[in-house]
Amino acid sequence: MSDDIFNQTKLKAFFIQLKRSFVITKKDLKIYYNKPPVLIQGILFPIILFIALTLGRTVQPIYLISGLMAMITFLTSTSIGPIVFPWETMRRTFERLVTCPISIKTILVGSIWSTFIYGIIFSSIPLIIGIIFLSTELTINIIIIIAGMVIAGLAFACFSLILSVPSTDTPGNTMVFTILIKFPLIFMSPLFMPIILSPIAFISPLTYYIDIVNVSLGNTSAFGPLGVLFDIGILIAFGFGFLFLAFFLHGKTLERRFRG
């Protein structure tokens, strides 16, 4: 292994790094799935927000499911990502990780997989409940809903890594920053209601995911006949935008974690 590392092709090196990103994923899932910040942001917040936004309101089943799924996918897919870096800096495991033969991009991609998997597992719960209890009332297009869930989950996971850019070793600081960014995004999205095309709703990637779920449940897209393709395209663009921004910003701030 160590002898041919000096003569690797770029493609081989890429696949080695990709493989190693899955090792990071396994580590992140094992370590962070039950950490308090993850449980608060990934499980407690969706429950509280669901109750707060639906209590006392008459919400159509279609918007109830799409709103719940969007909120759960967004909050769980962004729960692990922001705490990995500050947590590892605090626990002093980060420097050891950085001296391993992996790039910072590999560490980031590994964290994206882990936060994405975590999000998909929890997002599946309302979907399964919806299929079991509402399949007689609603026509559910499983392919569209799963495709939307995967693409949105990945885009949100990439977004979550931007939230861990500040070079702090206190996960609590990241939590505050994360809430300040995530909550306005939730409130500017059309949760538990029909999509109203206001300029503010366009900013949030959640809007496009809600539209995909609405269409998969038999509604028409707010963006016209090819709305689902438009939604998917926008979410992919958001995902890549967040990914490259995360690569760039973490590359810039990495050294600050080791000063002093």
Binding site: M1, I5, Q8, K30, R92, E95, R96, P101, R259
Partner: protein, 326 residues
């Protein structure tokens, strides 16, 4: 090989511009010169010690050598490769135990080793063989299934060394490997550093502990304020304090130190816990003179030993005076 290595840090943002504004030339004064144009070469198969007081630039240097920090200027070549430009390849063949590093508390000792082994691309079969061997060697095998958060500091440090060695590195970087450890753990670690070095591994270590440097290192570089001020073997560095010669003497009865001070070859007499620490100009002449004196006073010697210059004294002298040895 480290050539003209420089590392500057920007000042913290709040203090960056102060009242002067971003364009003031005086702002260049705010740059922190952590490492300032250092050069040295580590020979294959040697144990190279990097000594210096706190904040001297030891950890910054080792962090640049291990690819954590990017050098501001200069070049680091490891195994013939530029360490920054070929980070992944270089990291693959080097092992590292950072000073402030820790193991994963949520993982057992075994899981920590398996994780690192997998990151380095070692096959599962090979990982298991190496992990078993290392854990036995470092006396951790019985506790391998225990969560690492229950390990003592010494056990964690030994586990970190196992994590660095599971990859069979050609170069091993150790940042303060025995700092704050119990005697048993420090002894095991020193013994194994020596053992791995005898097998051909090149070891680069930073330490505060003069005893560790003296016992283990083939050569030592002393760094202060980001500059290397001395680079030589421990024996040659000790020679700096050659003019410091002393005799430790314990007597059966009390002695009038005032009279002793008046002897020709004695420079200073210090009262130690059990006897006297006598600083002299010439060991031979002084011993003869002291023996004549105590015979004439009918006093018996309980203990006599000459004091060899210590690395610690040489280190302090170099740091205080900034003695530079080429």
């Amino acid at each position: 090989m480290v050539k003209n290595l420089v590392k500057h840090f920007d000042p913290p943002k709040r203090a960056k511009y102060g009242k002067l504004g971003p364009n003031s030339p005086q702002n260049t004064m705010d740059i922190i010169r952590a490492v300032d144009d250092i050069n040295f070469e580590v020979k294959e198969g040697e144990i190279f010690g990097f000594l210096g007081p706190n904040g001297a630039g030891k950890t910054t240097t080792i962090r640049m050598m291990t690819g954590v920090l990017r050098p501001t200027k200069g070049e680091i070549k490891l195994l013939g490769l530029n360490a920054w430009k070929n980070q992944i390849a270089v990291k693959q063949v080097t092992g590292n135990v950072p000073e402030m590093a820790n193991v994963y508390f949520s993982f057992s000792g075994w899981e920590n080793l398996m994780f690192i082994g997998e990151i380095y691309g070692i096959s599962k079969k090979e990982r298991i063989i190496r992990a078993e061997m290392l854990l036995k060697k470092f006396d951790l095998y019985e506790k391998r299934t225990l969560k690492a958060k229950k390990y003592s500091k010494g056990m964690k440090q030994r586990l970190l060394l196992c994590m660095a060695l599971i990859t069979n590195p050609k170069i091993l970087f150790l940042d303060e490997p025995t700092s704050g450890l119990d005697v048993q753990s420090a002894k095991i670690i020193k013994q194994l550093i020596r053992e791995y070095n005898e097998q051909g591994m090149t070891i680069f270590l930073t330490t505060h502990d003069m005893e560790v440097a003296n016992e283990l290192c083939d050569r030592i570089a002393i760094i202060n304020h980001g500059k290397i001020i001395s680079l030589d073997t421990p024996k040659n560095i000790r020679k700096i304090t050659q003019d410091y010669q002393a005799i430790d003497l314990y007597f059966t009865d009390r002695l009038d130190t005032g009279e002793l001070k008046n002897l020709n070859t004695i420079r200073e007499v210090q009262e130690a816990q059990e006897g006297l620490h006598i600083i002299v100009d010439d060991i031979h002449e002084s011993i003869c003179e002291i023996i004549d004196y105590i015979k004439s006073h009918n006093i018996k010697i309980k203990h006599l030993s000459t004091h060899q210059p210590k690395l610690e004294e040489a280190f302090l002298k170099i740091i205080e005076r900034g003695v530079k040895i080429e």
